[in-house]
């Protein structure tokens, strides 16, 4: 069953943007955007470390607010305190951009089938077809 999600339009997408929060409120908003984002983000931490991956969860109401991230190139999950984050870059492809039912209907036929063909080739390459 198809389960649509809220999809940003291409113009709404955060792909490529960088946030350097200056206040606690800005930080919380930036983390919320990272959680909603359907792609990987790069976090710069106060320790100097940089970690890229998918933000799968966040708890801004915890005594020590934190987020959970699946790193891109390692197994496991990182738990990172909001307080340690100095910047959030939306580095990964926004996999949801332009993918809503409405956006799909508006696309030209040729574009739709080109995208479908690419998805089919990807699945075939993985042996899933």
């Amino acid at each position: 069953m198809t389960t649509p999600h809220h999809f940003p339009s291409d113009s709404d997408s955060l792909e490529g943007r960088v946030f350097r929060p200056a206040t606690v409120l800005e930080l919380r908003e930036a983390v919320e955007q990272a959680f909603d984002y359907r792609g990987d983000v790069l976090l710069e931490l106060s320790s100097g470390k940089r970690v890229e991956g998918y933000v799968s969860n966040r708890d801004a109401q915890a005594v020590e607010p934190f987020l959970e991230m699946f790193p891109k190139d390692e197994p496991g999950i990182h738990i990172i305190r909001f307080a340690d984050i100095t910047a959030i870059s939306f580095t990964g492809k926004d996999t949801a951009s332009g993918k809503s039912w409405e956006a799909w209907v508006m696309k030209k036929e040729a574009q739709r089938w080109a995208e479908a063909e690419q998805a089919s080739n990807d699945a075939r390459a993985r042996g899933h077809l």
């Binding site: 069953m1 198809t2 389960t3 649509p4 999600h5 809220h6 999809f7 359907r38 792609g39 990987d40 991956g53 998918y54 799968s56 969860n57 966040r58 708890d59 959970e68 699946f70 891109k72 190139d73 990964g92 492809k93 996999t95 949801a96 993918k99 809503s100 039912w101 409405e102 799909w104 209907v105 739709r112 089938w113 995208e115 479908a116 998805a119 089919s120 699945a123 993985r126 899933h128 077809l129």
Partner: protein, 338 residues
């Protein structure tokens, strides 16, 4: 009857036990998502929109069984992604069958014929085949030619081997009621046990709040599809839910009725919205602000009429009073009678 008597008895006795114990919030169907990887890219599907390293993650059989034990729901729906891609799916199913869970394995059927030997027919296992309409509509919805024919062939193969088979169909406002009714005829002629239908869900950041116009259009569509129902059509859903889709009955959403568990954890608040994750089912029940969701309570819920939130409401209505039970029996026996 679409649903076997043993399943009806199991669900009925479970729901009645919850009501007798005055349990306010209980799960009916566990939505178990063991992976998000799919071999299709259906129009509008939000479940597969993740980076590759996330799409490559899988729940283990042990994680799946633990979730089922923790939740306690009598039924388990396994959507995805495409569940048959999971290399241990047959083992997951075996473990759930041992736990006497009624399983709906939701699949696009592309891999079904190839994988059938890994499964054993059981009253506990149903292959729920994603079919969004007749050939033209379905292939269009899944963005690939030929999928309808593959699915039909797989349905026939599974039925021949003695498996329970149903279909699940998502309909958007542009669906042609006459074509949908013809689709129902086709599926019944194929011999499927029952059909499940649901409107598609879409959430706009600035939804049309004027009289829930989109919801109204959804009700009009389903009214046209389901009025003057044929006796040969068997729906794997509560007749009260079908009435709700047609706009003849109002329900508030029951988001805890179909809790969702996937690689991120237990999903708050429901199958469609992803507003956070917790580690345990109990934490899901206790920490979610349930009153903040539902019709008229949240802009994201304004147009939603999807089965995962409202079918549990209908089931609760059936077993909540003698009149609810009576309505259900009457609509089951005479779906067109008023």
């Amino acid at each position: 009857m679409a649903v076997p008597v043993s399943q009806m008895y199991t669900v009925a006795s479970y729901v009645l036990a919850q009501k007798m114990r005055r349990v306010k919030r209980y799960p009916l169907v566990l939505m178990l998502e063991p992976l998000f990887r799919c071999n299709l890219a259906c129009a509008g599907c939000g479940k597969i929109q993740y980076p590759d390293h996330i799409l490559d993650k899988r729940l283990t059989p042990e994680q799946c069984w633990t979730a089922a034990d923790e939740c306690g729901a009598p039924m388990v729906s396994i959507p995805g992604g495409e569940p048959l891609i999971h290399p241990e799916m047959a083992e997951i199913v075996r473990g759930l069958v041992q736990r006497r869970k009624y399983i709906y394995l939701c699949t696009n059927a592309i891999l079904l014929e190839r994988k059938l030997d890994e499964y054993t027919p059981s009253k506990y296992l149903t292959f729920s085949i994603h079919m969004d309409g007749l050939q033209e509509e379905h292939d269009h919805a899944v963005c690939r030619d030929g999928v309808y024919d593959v699915a039909v062939k797989a349905i026939q193969a599974a039925l021949k081997r003695g498996f329970r088979v149903t279909t699940n169909t998502t309909l958007f406002d542009d669906a042609d009621p006459r074509r949908v009714r013809a689709f129902f005829d086709s599926m019944m002629q194929l011999g499927v046990e029952g059909m499940m239908i649901s409107p598609g869900y879409s959430y706009q950041k600035a939804p049309d709040q004027k009289n829930f116009l989109k919801r109204g259009r959804t009700q009009q569509l389903f009214a046209r599809i389901l009025e003057d129902r044929k006796r040969s059509w068997r729906f794997n859903q509560s007749p009260l839910f079908l009435d709700f889709l047609m706009g003849k009955r109002e329900y508030q959403c029951t988001p805890w009725g179909n809790p969702t568990y996937n690689i991120f954890g237990w999903q708050k608040p429901c199958y469609l919205l992803q507003e956070g994750y917790v580690k345990t089912f109990q934490e899901l029940l206790e920490s979610t602000n349930w009153d903040g969701y539902g019709t008229g309570r949240n802009e994201k819920c304004a147009d939603c009429m999807v089965h995962c939130g409202y079918e549990p409401s209908a089931v609760s209505d059936t077993f909540g009073s003698w009149s609810g039970f009576g309505r259900t029996v009457r609509l089951t026996l005479t779906p067109n009678g008023r």
